[in-house]
Symmetry: C2
Subunit: 512 residues, 2 copies
């Protein structure tokens, strides 16, 4: 059975580096791992990614579940409250993503795990899941030291557990990643990594201290924890661009091939993004399941026992649900295509990805907005605009990842996606689709005074179907053409790539 798997799939050799977790899948080493009680970390990392991505998006719920009665206008006070909650959501998202990045960095150092690691990791996860609560406590009571204190305590606890993991890994070197296991200056590496991990907790310790007598300083310190890595990276990148030279690596560090400041493993970025898209897609149906199953009594009294009428009354919600799911799905699809053509994820690309995901996490809000205000002409316009803005930002940051990748295309992109590559124009069209469409919808709300939310949702649903239909039609037409010509060429070697290539040209005008 083994022999059937590999030979047909292994293609021509390329110079591409192996993905980070490839060793997890090398069949032979599993039993060997079990022999000294250590295990591959693949599944534990997947589980952590799933947990962290859900936690990052959880804080959108207080925003979406904000009660806005139908009588209430979408006025200034509601807008202000909404804005505050959205800010809380975005900051929580950034904080949890920061914790995730630290976790990624840590487990690039650790190659294999044992039971103690798994348990320590669970403790770490438990502490991180508590972060959103302490953060919202801090925002609700900005002047009470307790909120700041609890938040800092969480961050410090996470840092302490991660330091423990690191020390334990360096204590049992066969658990380190292969590069580090055979490195000569392990003590030096340990000090460096420990320094990176303990930066945040140290700042938080200071913040917790300041909270007792001068709390604004605490907020300043905490803001540094969240933004410092990005700021310092951006500064060094700009300096690198201006001066044009990078400092040579310190002596003795050559074997430490992965850069601590490029902490993003492509597989883990993908797993984390998948988690966010999956939870966002399902937050929608979760609301539907809780709110839109009609009550038997109400059906009898209000709708004369007709279930169809009762369901029809919440029709806009269903339309909004399908529209939003289609949008989330297509954004995932664009993300999937983009990362398929990428070789590695640099830190600026990681930041752009985080921002894109933060807006994707806001999509349930768009659903709530457009379905709650479907009846009131003015608010409806407002809410369609909010939806368009969210979709626009989510997709434009995806587009920005693409342009950033193009800046260093030799390092970051597969040959076919680079300038002049076969896939280049198609990728461009895929990623430009949603920014263009949402801008168009936004513009039309300014022109049309009564832009209907229903039309908006129908458009949302129609986008993927036209896309799919066009591809299918072109393919069927080509297949029919081939069949009628009676050509018996082997399908795999030539016909299939041609079919894919041919679909591209007619799609381009339709896509953008």
């Amino acid at each position: 059975m083994t022999s059937l798997h590999c030979p047909t799939m292994s293609g021509p050799q390329t110079s591409e580096p192996a993905p980070d977790r490839q060793e997890d899948w090398s069949a032979g080493s599993r039993d060997e791992g079990a022999a000294d009680g250590s295990q591959h970390s693949h599944r534990m990392l997947n589980f952590s990614d799933a947990l962290l991505s859900i936690i990052a998006t959880v804080m959108i719920l207080p925003v979406t579940h904000m009660e806005i009665t139908p009588e209430q206008e979408f006025d200034k006070s509601v807008q202000r409250l909404l804005a505050t909650r959205i800010a809380v959501y975005l900051l929580t998202f950034l904080i949890v993503t920061g914790a995730w990045a630290a976790h990624t960095r840590l487990f690039q150092v650790v190659g294999r795990i044992d039971d103690t690691f798994a348990l320590l990791n669970l403790a770490c996860m438990m502490t991180i899941t508590f972060l959103p609560f302490t953060f919202s406590l801090m925002v609700t009571f900005p002047e009470v030291p307790l909120g700041i204190f609890l938040f800092c305590a969480c961050v410090i606890a996470v840092g302490a557990i991660q330091a423990l993991v690191l020390l334990y890994a360096f204590h049992l070197p066969h658990l380190l990643s292969p590069q580090l296991e055979h490195a000569t200056h392990r003590a030096l590496h340990r000090r460096r990594v420990l320094g990176v991990i303990l930066q945040g907790p140290a700042l938080c310790l200071a913040a917790a201290g300041f909270s007792l007598f001068f709390y604004p300083a605490s907020y300043l310190l905490m803001a540094m924890v969240v933004f410092l890595p990005y700021v310092s990276k951006a500064a060094s990148w700009c300096r690198g661009r201006l001066v044009g030279s990078r400092e040579p690596p310190a002596p003795g560090l050559e074997s430490f091939t992965f850069d601590l400041h490029e902490p993003l493993s492509k597989e883990r970025v993908e797993a984390f993004s998948d988690g966010v898209y999956a939870i966002v897609a399902t937050l929608l149906i979760l609301d539907i399941c809780e709110d839109n199953v009609p009550d038997p009594k109400e059906v009898k009294e209000r709708f004369g026992g007709s279930l169809l009428a009762a369901l029809g009354s919440s029709g806009p919600q269903f339309l909004a649900y399908f529209g939003s799911f289609a949008t989330v799905g297509l954004l995932w699809f664009a993300h999937h295509s983009l990362f398929l053509h990428m070789r590695k994820v640099t830190r600026p690309m990681g930041l752009l990805n985080t921002l894109s995901l933060a807006f994707v996490g806001g999509l349930p809000l768009a659903y709530r907005q457009t379905s709650a205000f479907a009846k009131q002409p003015h608010s409806e316009l407002e809410s369609v605009r909010v939806s368009c803005a969210i979709i626009f930002f989510a997709s434009i940051f995806q587009f920005a990842i693409w342009t950033t990748a193009l800046l260093q295309e030799r390092d970051t992109l597969q040959p076919s996606a680079r300038f002049g590559g076969r896939e280049h124009a198609f990728m461009f069209a895929k990623l430009a689709l949603y920014p263009c469409a949402s801008l168009l919808a936004f513009a039309s709300t300014c022109v049309l005074s009564r832009f209907s939310a229903a039309i908006f949702h129908v458009t949302q649903i129609a986008v993927p179907f036209t896309f799919l239909l066009l591809r299918l039609l072109v393919r069927l037409a080509l297949a029919a053409l081939r069949a009628s010509r009676g050509l018996a060429r082997p399908v795999r070697s030539q016909a299939a790539p041609r079919a894919v290539d041919d679909t591209r040209a007619p799609l381009l005008p339709a896509a953008c």
Copy 2:
């Protein structure tokens, strides 16, 4: 950089078959894949697993969010309503898991995907996410044909999309899995797989027809859709055991090495289970974030401005949260250890895993129960019992997977976990821990008349910490011993395995 990855990790050759998705990670074939527009399906499947696992557990929310006022007794009527909702949850879980199994089966036939597949898969996911809603509609209005009708329409739509995927894959054979691509009787295979996929939708079509004039028949047919695969497999397994011989494979099917009736890819079972554990762990914090951030006004009025007092009043909730997270985490840990020692997942093991996960999905209910009734002595007893029962069933089904695996240990287990293997006793202890502990807690509720929920949660939290602490202490003691003896033996080759072995003996009495 590439060269640094592999050589140190690839251990001695074993006879173990390669995991299903290993080809996804072979670095060389990525670029080749991009050349004909097709892609590996790894990430799409991960995304689907995440979506489906969340959808499967969503229906626990109407159960947990059932309003029970503090005055209300935990009496018969509440119990009956609760029982109905729990039944709905369990059935939805089974149905969605069935859809997931069909999806797994389908994508074992499809080896590579292209954009059309990705879009079709999204459409399939969208339809499946709507299943829980139609199902709860059907249960709320059991005598109205519309509910049955909508549910059947969803199942039929999913079947139609899957059939489309299949036909498309057979139309472009380079997208098929390598075994099928080079099989001689492709048309025969297509008919067989299509038959398996369309069984359920065909039964549902009949059910939708019956719903118009005799709805009980519809329910019978739909029950067949859900249970038939398990029943037929169980029957054939029993027959196989009694008669002792399996029928020889049909001629010409030898190359079709994977059995359609063994549809469970280990990687996908793991991914699906991870999704369930992750969403269950986070449903808990989701409730905390929504309900337990105190209101500034209330803090001023009720607690005299003391945030600490306000938080203290919802102390039991936090305790319950940490207790539940520890339980979910440890159950995941047991599952992780179990699957690490497994080679493949047979269908009975898959069924047991589904049942275990269904009870894991019930854990948020346990949290709600124990935290809502923390004040009333009698109800508290009831709810601690419910929690114990849920934890018991979740863990006993895990244990059952283990015993089932032992029945066919040559096929299903790694050598070290088999009878007499080094890990055997330790695995046994790990898996027996929770059934024993929950039975013990249940028994103590019968003896003690005032069993405190707080003590229950503290016990929940204490379990992993004692576990971890014991391991760490033994390890530190051993390290100290080694250091004091001044032995300079290489750590990896001998000392580490010994350390792991030595921790086992003292843990056994503590664990069970």
